[in-house]
């Protein structure tokens, strides 16, 4: 397994507050890793740094592009996304007033070309591309049982389904890495169990690396191959689920007695 | 086109009444002028009808007015004109007030062969086609800018002996810029400064202050009373006491009210319509009196010009003995020494209204002298 993402001594300061301090981590191809930590530990901030939503104070982020690890420093969010990094958001950010299908199609934007003239004058090839891409989107939606809601507005979906759609939208980008920020938030145990199966399926079927943030330990412990624990911006521990569950420091800072 | 007309002749034939359409700026930026004109038009038509109507080849016909608002917009003006000539089948149009709205109606009225008389469109080219030929259906009752501007230049140089002037012109219509251009061209002295303001501006202190150390002998300020009144006021308050010269847009009793009587001194403007002259001119005197009775205020110039526009149409109908629109157009071209409120009007080959011009002097808010400029 090759390393796909390598983060070295990442630091992010907001004014006087150091939200992320000297964090290093590595992801291998096809790995499923969790990032946990108490509230305000800096997890979402790490995601934002990795996906270029904000830029780091110092440190490097490198990402595999063919044979090399290239630096993502100073790259814009859309450039990083185009390289193959997809994400979901802690507060759902779907394109609310667009259909489920359009949400997915937008994510596929960079996978097809449809010249301006071709589309405004509707050359036959326009319809060909359009049909092709439509089929792809439909197939993907079908895998996640969303094809029946294809023409519904995203905002009209129940909360749990919206979360699922956000994941599908990420997948539609054909990413190499998928970052999931609290995918199970607001779901009941039943739905969480569903989601767990879903994520496992994705990883099997699409062979992508997944990094996820989650407070629901049933999901994390079931899924993750490795876990990073962040606390007050610093890396507190790293290890397999069982190692982490035993770790005193983690129990104290995060899991609590019952954990 | 007008397929229903029985006669072979072009244009709208007269029916039982003579229809006069009004395409006027009743809302929008020029509404103030438009509404003054509407009052003049209304009064003229009321008077005519009270006297039995217009004599068309021996028969008296009443006049009916169709008043439409063009919102001070060119596209609306075109549409209003189309409605007037096609739907309402008017025989003649009075208006619009502004050159911009006026030119917009030309294609439509020309197609329908209905003449229009604008009380106040002052651009020199308003009545002309691109080739320089005259627009057959376009007339006006006012001066064109070049005439007034050059008269003011002569007056400033010769009568006031002003060797250095500052020009402060309204930059939001052709009126101010056109007059300023004509003035600058004809003026023999030195233009010490040249600045612009916009319609609706209220504060001229900055510009006036900048004039202060320019050693000027006079200010030429072509524009309308609402702004020039403020300019006069603010100039005097800033201690600028040189003569202020303007144009007929100032010829309104409101000017002195806005400026304040004590400030409205040493103020001059070119105008056809002088209350001084009015006392000698029977028509004007009657008009002034009637207006005051009806509207309870001094007649503004715009009302006078609009009033004359209606009577010019009446005169044309009487001369031609026909109220068909094409005939009215012909009649208008032949108007000579017509005794209007704003002076003795003669329509020239370019459809401009030639009439004597005077320069009125304001002292303490009152007209104290009227000098005729030849």
């Amino acid at each position: 397994m090759r390393t796909i993402l390598k983060v070295d001594s990442l630091v992010k300061k907001f004014g006087g507050l150091t939200a992320v301090s000297n964090v290093s981590l590595q992801l291998k191809e096809d790995e499923l890793v969790a990032l946990i930590g108490p509230n305000g530990a800096g997890k979402t901030t790490v995601f934002n740094l990795l996906t270029g939503v904000i830029s780091q104070t110092s440190g490097t982020i490198r990402f595999r592009e063919k044979e090399d690890l290239i630096s993502l420093n100073n790259k814009k969010a859309y450039q990083i996304a185009s390289l193959g990094c997809a994400r979901t958001f802690q507060n759902i950010r779907l394109f609310k007033n667009m259909t489920v299908l359009d949400n997915v199609l937008v994510a596929m934007t960079n996978q097809y070309k449809e010249g301006f003239l071709k589309s405004i004058f509707r050359f036959p090839s326009f319809y060909r591309t359009e049909d092709e891409i439509l089929k792809k989107a439909r197939d993907l939606l079908a895998i996640f049982d969303l094809d029946k809601d294809m023409y519904k507005l995203a905002s009209n979906l129940p909360y749990g389904i919206q979360r699922r759609l956000e994941i599908v939208r990420g997948l539609a980008m054909q990413p190499k890495i998928l970052f999931l920020d609290e995918p199970a938030a607001g779901m009941n145990p039943e739905e969480t169990a569903d989601l767990t199966r879903l994520i496992r399926k994705i990883q099997k079927q699409f062979h992508i690396t997944v990094l996820l943030i989650e407070h629901d330990m049933s999901l994390v412990m079931n899924l993750a191959e490795r876990i990073y624990v962040l606390d007050q911006g610093k890396m507190l521990a790293e290890g397999t689920p069982s190692e982490i569950q035993q770790n005193k420091a983690v129990i104290k800072a995060y899991l609590g007695e019952e954990g | 086109g007008c397929s229903t007309a029985k006669t072979a002749s072009k244009g709208n034939a007269a029916g039982k009444t003579i229809k006069i359409g009004v395409n006027m700026e009743l809302s929008g930026a020029a509404a103030g002028y438009g509404n003054s004109q509407k009052q003049g038009i209304q009064m003229a038509v009321d008077q005519i009808n009270k006297n039995g109507g217009i004599n068309v080849d021996g028969k008296k016909k009443k006049v009916s007015l169709i008043i439409r608002d063009n919102k001070t917009s060119t596209s609306t003006s075109a549409s209003v004109a189309a409605q007037l000539v096609n739907k309402d089948k008017v025989n003649a149009i009075v208006g619009p007030a502004t050159t911009n709205a006026g030119t917009a109606q030309i294609p439509n009225i020309t197609k329908a062969a209905v003449p229009s008389v604008s009380p106040s469109a002052t651009d020199p080219n308003y009545t002309l086609q691109k080739s320089g030929k005259v627009q057959p259906y376009v007339f006006r009752a006012c001066y064109q800018n070049n005439f007034q501007g050059s008269t003011a230049a002569k007056f400033a140089y010769t009568n006031l002996k002003a060797k250095r002037v500052a020009v402060l012109a309204d930059n939001s219509s052709d009126y101010g810029t056109g007059l300023a251009k004509a003035f600058k061209k004809a003026y023999k002295g030195k233009i010490a400064a040249s600045q612009y303001f916009q319609e609706g501006d209220k504060d001229f202190n900055a510009i006036l202050t900048s004039f202060k150390n320019k050693k000027i002998d006079a200010i030429y300020a072509p524009g309308y009373y609402s702004e020039i009144g403020l300019i006069v006021k603010q100039a005097r308050q800033a201690g600028i006491n040189v003569p202020i010269i303007g144009s007929d847009g100032m010829a309104d009793p409101k000017l002195a009210q806005i400026a304040g009587n004590e400030n409205a001194t040493n103020v001059y403007y070119t105008t056809p319509f002088s209350t001084r002259v009015a006392n000698q001119n029977g028509t004007a005197k009657k008009f002034m009196k009637a207006f005051k009775e009806q509207y309870n205020e001094e007649a503004p110039t715009f009302s006078a010009l609009a009033y004359d526009s209606v009577y010019m149409i009446k005169k044309a109908i009487e001369n031609e003995k026909s109220a068909d629109s094409a005939k009215i157009a012909e009649g208008l071209t032949k108007i000579k020494n017509f005794d209007g409120v704003t002076g003795k009007i003669t329509i020239d080959s370019k459809h401009n209204a030639n009439k004597p011009i005077v320069v009125e002097t304001l002292s303490n808010g009152k007209v104290s002298a009227a000098t005729e400029i030849k």
Binding site: N39, Q90, N91, Y159, G160, M187, N188, P189, E190, G256 | -
Partner: protein
């Protein structure tokens, strides 16, 4: 408090189809149910954010169904809404002060604030930070803290544990029980039904806008149907 035949519509959507339940003074009552069952809608109706279509909400003998939100707050009902709704752009401290908007006694406001900081140490640390930039969990704590600032007699909690770390979830439930000890009545919505029911005196199970079942917390916890549907097997 007593809610009778509550019906709430969103335009043409009939979200709550005649729900009745009651809360006795000093109790913790849980509402549980799947996503979209209508739990949030009921809470919003009680706190005056939504106008019920019909039915009555009786609080200490007064019908508050038609009252506006501020009057309801004044009557001692405080709501921690879903989605937090903290004041972005105001600092943590200002947010808490806003929570005591209807409170007059400055000394008491100060004490309440100390109490909130006691519960949530991290808020004290972030005291002057713009609330918009707090982490998800911190915002949740702030929302609860703000509701406590008004010294409510009845506290409505909409999924207070959402987005909180496990250690804080336990903490939240401890706090809820502590508040109850101080004499505050609590109406609780939770996805974490097991935990919620275990601290509740009574609970109601909601599905598709109707009450499907009710009973003491323990009874519902023991009910096989409830276990299957809401407790994750």
């Amino acid at each position: 408090m007593e809610v009778k035949n509550l019906v709430v519509n969103y335009g043409v959507i009939n979200a709550i189809k005649g729900v009745s339940f009651e809360i006795n003074e000093g109790e913790i009552v849980s509402l549980i149910g799947a996503n979209g069952a209508g739990k949030t809608t009921i809470l919003k109706s009680i706190s005056g954010l939504l106008k019920p279509t019909s039915g009555s909400i009786n609080y200490l003998g007064r019908d508050i169904g038609k009252k506006k939100a501020p009057d309801i707050v004044a009557a001692g009902i405080s709501h921690v809404p879903e989605g937090r709704h903290i004041f972005p752009g105001l600092s943590v401290k200002e947010n808490l002060q806003m929570g005591a908007f209807l409170q007059k006694d400055r000394q008491q406001i100060k004490e309440s604030m100390e109490e909130v900081y006691e519960h949530f140490h991290i808020l004290k640390k972030r005291e002057n930070q713009d609330a918009a930039t707090l982490s998800g969990g911190e915002q949740q704590m702030l929302a609860i803290g703000r509701a406590l600032m008004s010294k409510p007699k009845l506290l409505l909690l909409d999924e207070p544990s959402m987005g909180l770390a496990p250690i804080f979830i336990n903490k939240i439930f401890e706090i809820v029980e502590a508040i109850k000890q101080q004499g505050t009545t609590i109406l609780l919505i939770e996805q974490n039904a097991k935990k919620a029911l275990s601290i509740s005196d009574r609970g109601y199970v909601l599905a598709a806008g109707e009450v499907k079942m009710d009973g003491t917390g323990a009874k519902l916890l023991g009910d096989p149907a409830v276990q299957r549907a809401y407790l994750g097997g």
